[in-house]
């Protein structure tokens, strides 16, 4: 139980830092649940992320799946609430303050100043995810092809995920 509570606190902290979306704090989730506490394997971590991409709804909900794999239902509750409680609280406060315009000097500094930092974190997430799969150069190649297809075409990501599953089943990576 103490472990689940510690998991909740860590995700609550990350929930407060997730300016720019939950994918910016993914590397620290990996550090905590895989590297430091061995609650899931690197493989399970990336599987949870991949599965969640193929379901409807906000992508951030993959933390629920991660929590479930780490420590069952209690774990799912811990990671989900950890991320959503700060987001809910800050959004309600912003609404109650009628903070409709995001162009105060402070808000602007947060938005413009933190954008490159958040992008650096997001790139780290992609990197950590790639490293966690351990499938050699073909996996990296598939990720690069995906990147090129997403940027160069308007293909629905679901097709790409399905293609990835088929390529995997065929044993090409």
């Amino acid at each position: 139980m103490a472990e689940v509570i510690a998991l909740f606190w860590h995700f609550l902290l990350l929930g407060c830092l997730a300016v720019g979306g939950v994918s910016t704090v993914m590397p620290d989730m990996y550090r905590y649940v895989v590297d430091e506490n061995a609650m899931v394997t690197g493989r399970q971590f990336s599987d949870a992320y991949a599965l969640a991409q193929a379901t409807p709804g906000p992508n951030a909900l993959w933390v629920t799946l991660l929590g479930l794999l780490a420590r069952g239902w209690a774990g799912a509750l811990a990671t989900t609430l950890g991320i959503l409680v700060p987001a809910t609280a800050f959004s309600l406060i912003a609404s109650a303050l009628h903070a409709r315009h995001a162009d105060s000097p402070f808000a602007r500094a947060v938005r413009r100043g933190l954008a490159p930092v958040a992008l650096g974190f997001m790139l780290s997430s992609g990197w950590v995810l790639l490293r966690s799969i351990e499938h050699g150069w073909r996996g990296y190649a598939l990720a690069l092809v995906t990147l090129a297809l997403v940027i160069g075409t308007r293909l629905n990501p679901l097709w790409l995920l399905a293609a990835g599953a088929l390529i995997g089943i065929a044993g090409w990576i």
Partner: protein, 178 residues
């Protein structure tokens, strides 16, 4: 406000249930389609304002937008009705998938499929970051912060709290204008 008056908590819940359930390929698309174009609860301008505000509030952007829209039409009750609607269907699907995964993840065919999907998922995430990075101002400073953030968290694997704490004050000061 809408021509037909404020929607009830029940209506807010049902509307966001639809958005959450059809959110394949990005919830943002469906929020705009349903709330701006179909129901006309908010205008495009308000939608963009909400998104901008969501960018400086920690957490999932669409989630923050959902909370703010729910609150606006139904107070705290409306906010939670919107949250329940948005998260209910996807959570049910996700937890079912999780249970199936726990049961069958040892199957070689599933392992291979997931390995392929994971590589694609990593590519999707990287593509997202790259296309956002292209929009950064073409000056040295933002790129320095981007590289430092990547080096600290991605390469060195330092705790995000420390890297954020070290970079955020300088990153914000570098763009500060009254």
């Amino acid at each position: 406000m809408t021509p037909s008056g404020a929607p009830s908590a029940r209506e807010i819940f049902l509307t966001f249930t639809r958005i959450g359930a059809s959110g394949f390929g990005g919830v943002n698309f469906w929020i705009r389609r349903v709330l701006v174009q179909e129901k006309r609860w908010i205008t495009d301008h308000e939608y963009l304002e909400g998104l901008a505000l969501g960018q400086i509030i920690p957490g999932p952007n669409v989630y923050n937008l959902t909370v703010m829209i729910g609150y606006r039409f139904g107070g705290v009750r409306g906010a939670f009705a919107a949250i329940a609607g948005l998260l209910g269907p996807p959570l049910a699907v996700l937890l079912a998938l999780g249970l199936l995964y726990q049961r069958y993840s040892a199957l070689p065919i599933l392992q291979r499929a997931l390995a392929g999907m994971s590589a694609v998922a990593a590519g999707l995430l990287l593509a997202n970051a790259v296309s956002l990075a292209v929009a950064l101002p073409r000056r040295a400073r933002p790129w320095i912060f981007l590289v430092l953030a990547f080096a600290g968290v991605g390469i060195m694997r330092w705790p995000l709290l420390y890297v954020m704490g070290a970079l955020a004050p300088f990153a914000m000061a570098s763009v500060w204008r009254r």
